[in-house]
Symmetry: C2
Subunit: 473 residues, 2 copies
């Protein structure tokens, strides 16, 4: 008595109404789930059912047992981490992707998926102003893309000998800063380079990578017998959205002959705005670039766009050709399984295509500009307030601030801001996470959710003030 297509049709219509209702009402729900650890688990039977259950039962449990434990990433007042934004056209595409269930490992297994991926990546390259000749591929996450970049660098430096013989005796060094994303260290470990060979380059006062310190670190390492391998610069760090000065850093990486990967996972989207094209100045002198359409370009997670200067080098790093994957079309088309780690691949290009076409480039620009406008507005309010202060300057739609009531010392301020964030998050009204900036415990705010409107931003500012006042009383 398994579900047939007739029942599927009815149930899917039922779900569509639930989905649309949910999206209409999500802003009335608590953003951050208030469940305690183990609260969901204990509602779930310890063993799977022997007999199939009706969809009514399953869906009822979804609503009653699962939903209270969901933190709502699609809530307009989700200001935490970086957004993982869905959007209506993207959800529609996911519905079709799920139905087709295509496995897009090579061209032959899904020709349309391979060719749509090629084209949509060309579109993105144009939208961002990436150099002609660069090629793109969709991965699941920036974590994977960064690992892929470091592996490509490793193979380039060793003439593909690491792939064959393993990582050699001379340590290869990767350069980043203490602000760089944790995935860099993970990648360095995975690639067999060792986290001790991840060099944390000093930052300037604004927490961006210091080009002078970078050059010094590379040269010292070279003199000490290490092999300088790759520099990871970041356009928009996770803690503060610090934006490295690419055009200055590329001078160093080029002169020193070191691979240069650019992690623009969140902020990369801003480069679709002519007024922010400068973000990518110098990119032509880099080797690879990653940004996540699944963050600030409204494409459902997961959808990471990874671009490389030298596709042959990338493919040579990852290509393995067993008998069962030999096809006639090989060489004429892109077999994306050779562009990364996983063999299996979802048809992710479809959602990217739906989103770009549905919004249009101008629609996406308008939305991103609007979010940056919200950032400017929020910054203005903080600057005008006597109770709050910015502790890391706004970049785009992001800043780090803190509550700063009078006559309170630094330790007390850290404690108060920690309490304020907890109070705010517990209220369910919005979700904020923290950043520690030079010892100061601050509140990060990302004003970039798909459904964020002016009224939400105003309301958020009022509520933050109210909750701070309550805490003070």
């Amino acid at each position: 008595m398994t579900m047939n297509i007739r029942e599927f049709r009815d149930r899917a219509h039922q779900l569509v109404d639930w989905m649309a209702d949910f999206l209409e009402q999500v802003e009335t729900l608590p953003v951050k789930s208030g469940v305690k650890p183990g609260e969901i688990l204990k509602q779930l039977p310890a063993s799977p059912p022997g007999k199939g259950e009706s969809f009514d039962e399953i869906f009822a449990d979804f609503q009653h047992a699962i939903m209270p434990g969901i933190t709502h990433w699609q809530h307009p007042k989700f200001f935490a981490y970086f957004n993982a934004n869905a959007s209506p056209p993207s959800v529609l595409a996911e519905m079709l992707m799920a139905t087709l269930g295509a496995q897009c490992m090579i061209w032959e297994t899904s020709p349309a998926a391979a060719e749509l991926e090629e084209r949509t990546m060309e579109w993105l390259a144009k939208m961002l102003g990436l150099p002609a000749g660069w090629d793109g591929v969709i991965h699941d996450t920036a974590s994977a893309a960064t690992l892929i970049s470091i592996l490509s660098a490793r193979e380039k430096l060793t003439g593909f000998a690491s792939n064959r013989k393993g990582v050699g005796r001379t340590p290869m060094r990767v350069y980043a800063t203490s602000e760089t994303h944790s995935s860099i260290e993970k990648a360095v470990r995975i690639a067999g380079l060792g986290s001790e060979n991840l060099v944390k380059v000093n930052t300037k006062d604004d927490l961006t990578m210091d080009p002078v310190a970078l050059r010094k670190a590379i040269r010292q390492d070279r003199e000490a017998g290490f092999l300088p391998l790759a520099v990871i610069s970041t356009l928009g760090t996770t803690s503060t959205l610090a934006i490295d000065d690419l055009k200055t850093l590329v001078v160093v990486t080029n002169e020193e002959g070191v691979w240069h990967h650019v992690d623009a996972a969140y902020a990369g989207t801003a480069a679709i705005l002519p007024e922010y094209a400068g973000l990518l100045e110098g990119i032509e002198k880099c080797d690879s670039f990653v940004f996540n359409p699944h963050k600030w370009m409204f494409v459902n997670f997961d959808c990471t766009a990874y671009f490389v200067k030298d596709r042959e080098q990338l493919i040579r790093t990852f290509e393995i050709l067993p008998e069962y994957l030999k096809t006639k079309s090989r060489g004429e088309v892109n077999d994306y399984r050779d562009w990364g780690i996983a063999l299996g691949r979802r048809f992710r290009a479809l959602k990217l295509w739906f989103v770009i076409r549905s919004y249009g480039v101008e629609g996406l620009q308008e939305k991103v500009r609007q979010h940056i406008g919200f950032g400017k507005q929020f910054e203005k309010w903080i600057k005008e307030s006597s109770d709050f202060e910015i502790i890391y300057p706004r970049n785009l739609n992001f800043m780090v601030f803190r509550w700063h009531p009078k006559a309170v010392d630094e330790d007390e301020l850290n404690k108060l801001n920690r309490e304020l964030i907890e109070r705010i998050n517990r209220s369910g009204q919005m979700f904020l996470t923290h950043a520690v900036v030079k010892g100061k415990y601050g509140i990060r705010i990302v004003l970039g959710q798909t459904y964020l409107e002016d009224r939400h931003v105003r309301q958020a500012w009022e509520q933050i003030n109210e909750m701070a006042a309550e805490l003070n009383s």
Copy 2:
């Protein structure tokens, strides 16, 4: 003029009807797309649209430009590769997953997702009869799981020094066979071990790993100064579904003190049948196990289930804790980002939960048993036929056979079978891929698509006979 929720509701209902119609009619479509390389690409504009386009336009293009380039993995007569099976309850779950758009990197970002993942993995462990105390986690692909296993082995062997200092001077060796999946070699390269340190252990006549040869290889390596690291055994190889004799191999791996990973990506599902529980005999002496519910358990790609004996060891291999991911709940709950490579994670447990509950364990068993029955039926027909022969014996719902018209030599047979596969695939009636078994070019058939019924199996056998006869005339 971006799509609002009101329009989304209408469009999603429209898509549901298309989706149900598609699933009802998919068996009338050509299984394998017949497009030529570049045929889709040239229909797609070179640049993205400036203005947003209507959903009517986008969906029309999806139907006219994309659909002809789709190879239909959900067609009941998709007999190629291994199936990537969706199912009605799984698609319903994907719709909800896409709508919630939850990012499940840590418990705090989606408590229900983390706890549902914990519970559904416990369910799977029970269904498969995995040893008590093993823990599971969902990854995207078996490629990732295998890499994770090899990295865990690497860290165990080196006391976590490889993570810190990089892969050392003494080569670590991984043992598999020539039949093992290409992802093993990819993982060995990525982990910095070098593909020259992937030892291809001799197989027995049935293409399974020879335990005697394995022991010899390990001992020789140890004597030669190599560090034996890990053995990858396979329950169901890609080319022939050869099933390694686990209970014999574990004696060797245990006595030699080598990590043992079991790749049961496709065939693992069979272990939910009591009559095939023997497949996993010896698993308690292994270290890790992977199988793909997205293959033969009707859960949309991607959904890989990875199980480990020692979760602390796994977590210690991958854990990195930056300030922005510190949470109060840490330690009480599972933060699955520390169980693998990617930080970002989709809410994949939901589709696994929907599928297990909708079918029930008995419903899944019935379906898998039915597929094995189709395999037996097909095997019987081949054995009864004077024109066909089995060149690798049936395991489960899988075999490799070839057309064998009289008085034709081996070279000619290879050529004829290649032509036959091409003819069959070109017909659109079914999709088959090849395997070369000891120099013989054969036809692999996997009788395991979600919607496969008896009538399709019969029809396929008739059509293969007809097309062979046409080729002969």
